[in-house]
């Protein structure tokens, strides 16, 4: 008898002919997630299994696996040869702590000679012999002993089912460039796009000396934390100082934010083309701040042609915070280092910018040059 971790797929089940592509990507991502452990990942019919791992690594492996998008759930199972005596013997050794249970047998291997319901009764009886204080309850059991008889000649026995991150394997839905500010929202936005299978690279605008090295370090740590969910996350850091100084020098300060954001979007689009990303991702939520009103979003969106995904657009702040806490970015995001948007903050930012006014302000800047200079300041951090 050997312990294995059974992994079940999420939405991949809905796929048709191209299912293999999704399965292979998931297999690669799972492999990456657990590469630090001495173990073996195997494909078995319709699922994967982690085998030959050290017992003391079990919890750490499970922790990693629950963060792999594309996995729906997992179970620690005992694996035995599909043999009536072996399975029944294993049942006799089971020690259950609950008060009620039932046995469910799934007989994928139709060569197994006993029907599922009958075999469940046999196994249940064995379990009752070992565990004197437990009863069978077929309607509302505290625990279910699952016996999975697979086609490959092996049988897996498990009870607990641990939910994983769900979604689609990262790398199956193209690549997006996430504007990562250092706040609470953007890492959560990245998380959601990763969940839909998108590869994510991040773009951070740094504004030294108006913001500190600590602010940059914070963003690097945020990206590292996001990497638990999104493998191969890359972080691009660009200097935004000159852009801010130029806007400040030449334009009406009340337009600072909208002008900054329009330039950020232009820079992001150029960077997308360079890295082969097909979408810009932001953590904007409708109406949350002045720059996220419908009018402001329209004004910032109009400078790019690539799709802009805003997965948090309908989220309340508290909902976002809950997820940020769950994925471990919240504690980093609330560190008090300012990001580049807070330094040149106008007292009364324009909340409903008129495009003709914005264009009038932009006419005072050499936008193309600012965008180009900004791109040239690139620093890539491989997380």
């Amino acid at each position: 008898m050997e312990k294995v971790i059974l992994l079940r797929f999420g939405e991949i089940f809905l796929k048709g002919d191209n299912r293999g592509f999704f399965e292979n990507m998931l297999f690669t991502n799972v492999q990456k997630a657990i590469k630090e452990f001495d173990c073996k990942l195997k494909k078995i019919a319709g699922r994967y299994a982690v085998e030959n791992y050290n017992e003391q690594d079990e919890q750490a492996i499970i922790q990693k696996l629950t963060k792999v998008f594309g996995l729906y759930s997992l179970s620690v199972a005992r694996k035995v040869k599909t043999d009536i005596d072996e399975i029944v013997n294993l049942c006799a050794k089971l020690e259950l702590t609950q008060k009620t249970f039932k046995v469910e047998v799934r007989r994928a291997d139709k060569r197994f000679p006993i029907k599922s319901t009958e075999f469940a009764a046999i196994c249940g009886e064995k379990i009752l012999m070992t565990n004197k204080n437990i009863k069978v309850d077929v309607h509302n059991p505290e625990t279910i002993v699952n016996i999975d008889i697979r086609e490959d000649g092996w049988t897996y026995m498990f009870s607990d089912i641990i939910l994983c991150a769900g979604g689609m394997p990262v790398g199956t839905s193209g690549k997006g460039l996430l504007l990562l500010s250092g706040g609470i929202d953007s890492p959560v936005a990245g998380y959601f796009m990763g969940k839909r299978g998108m590869s994510v690279e991040c773009l951070h605008f740094h504004s030294f000396p108006y913001t500190s090295e600590q602010a940059k370090d914070k963003v690097i740590r945020l990206a590292k934390q996001m990497q638990n969910y999104i493998p191969h996350l890359k972080l691009h850091i660009l200097s935004f100082t000159k852009v801010q100084e130029e806007i400040n020098r030449n334009c009406d300060r009340d337009y600072m934010i909208i002008l900054m954001r329009r330039i950020m979007m232009r820079v992001a689009e150029k960077l997308c083309k360079k890295i082969g990303a097909g979408a810009i991702l932001t953590g904007e939520s409708l109406g949350q701040v002045a720059s996220q009103t419908l009018e402001s979003i329209t004004a910032t969106n109009s400078v790019v042609t690539l799709p802009v995904f805003r997965p948090l657009v309908g989220f309340d702040k508290l909902e976002t915070i809950d997820i940020a806490k769950k994925i471990g970015t919240y504690e980093i995001s609330i560190e008090p280092y300012e990001d580049c948007c807070t330094v040149f903050l106008p007292k009364r930012p324009v909340t409903k910018p008129k495009i003709e006014n914005v264009l009038e302000q932009e006419a005072k800047l050499n936008i193309d040059k600012l965008v180009q200079d900004c791109l040239e300041s690139e620093e890539v951090v491989l997380i």
């Binding site: 090295e213 400040n248 008090p336």
Partner: protein, 377 residues
Amino acid sequence: MIYFDNASTTKIYDEVADFVCKHSKEQFFNPSGLYAPALEVTRQINDARQSLLKFLNANNHKILFTASATEANNFALRCFLQKNKKILVSQGEHSCVFETANYLISQGFEVEFVKLLNNGTLDLDDLENKLDENVGLVSCIHVSNETGAINDVKSISKLVKQHSPQAIFHCDGVQAFCKIPVNVSDCGIDLYTISSHKIHGPRGVGALVINKNLHPKPLIFGGGQEFGLRSGTENSSAILGFTMAAKKMQENLKSNMAHVQDLKTLLIEQIQSLNPTINGSKNSSPNILSLSFDGVKGEILVHMLEQEQIYVSTGSSCNSKHSGNRVLVAMGKNKQQEAGNLRISFCEFNTKEEVLSFAHSLSECVKKIQGLDIWKK
């Protein structure tokens, strides 16, 4: 590189660094050992105690080594508590005293904070109002780590003994020891905190000077080191390095003071045209200068200067993780002056050339930020 952040920490003296390294390799023996080389280390530590007490003019005191001044201040506030007695703490304390005081409040102790004058020194009238027979401990910083303001600890001590005869007077001398003359006995100080890394000594060692008539509760239990008050194997090499640095600084105290005062005066002269607000009194410690410039955020200034390898701070490093500057607020500074604070702190290694170069860079940066007009709208 121009390093003007000596109130934060100092560069260790070369000879001290060499000594600490050699001593750790050759005389690494645990002072509690029963063999001769270990006894030799014990003897060295005891000599160090006597030297430091002498430098501090502490005649009726003993000295307890700790791992930091923060630890010594914690010890001072937490281990000398008298039953049902009130604690008075100045609003100008370093966060290790201030936060310990807040902890004591959370534990049900009565703690009152004594106001500051707008020059950064303790408001003696407010102190006098708050002193009574129920006060068991008074804690006041000697030289402010934020502004360099020097408290008249002798007068404070007199007031304390006059109105609260049973009160213990603690003084955090981290920014005073080896920077200005200190006379613990003459000032009637019961507890005095000092630190090694502020005086070109190694990190990881501080000390609390304790009036011999006091009987505190232990801070850390264990093998009974440091009079049974603070167990843990002595950091002997660092303790000796600390004492060695103190000796050198004491010997050069007068000339060092004159030197850093000259630098401070020169800098103030050089930046007159920028109209700085000097936070704290003119009689502040010769090595610390706290400034604010109209419409300039201190943090931005620090980063701009950093680009030219000039290192200064916006105030206490131990506050950089909190927002705002509590001490400047207590001095009645407005929000702009508080956020605009820049702390420049000198040491003997600094030169006039550095000051001139710094003043030039500072002027450029201040003008640039003022030109950006970040705050005015």
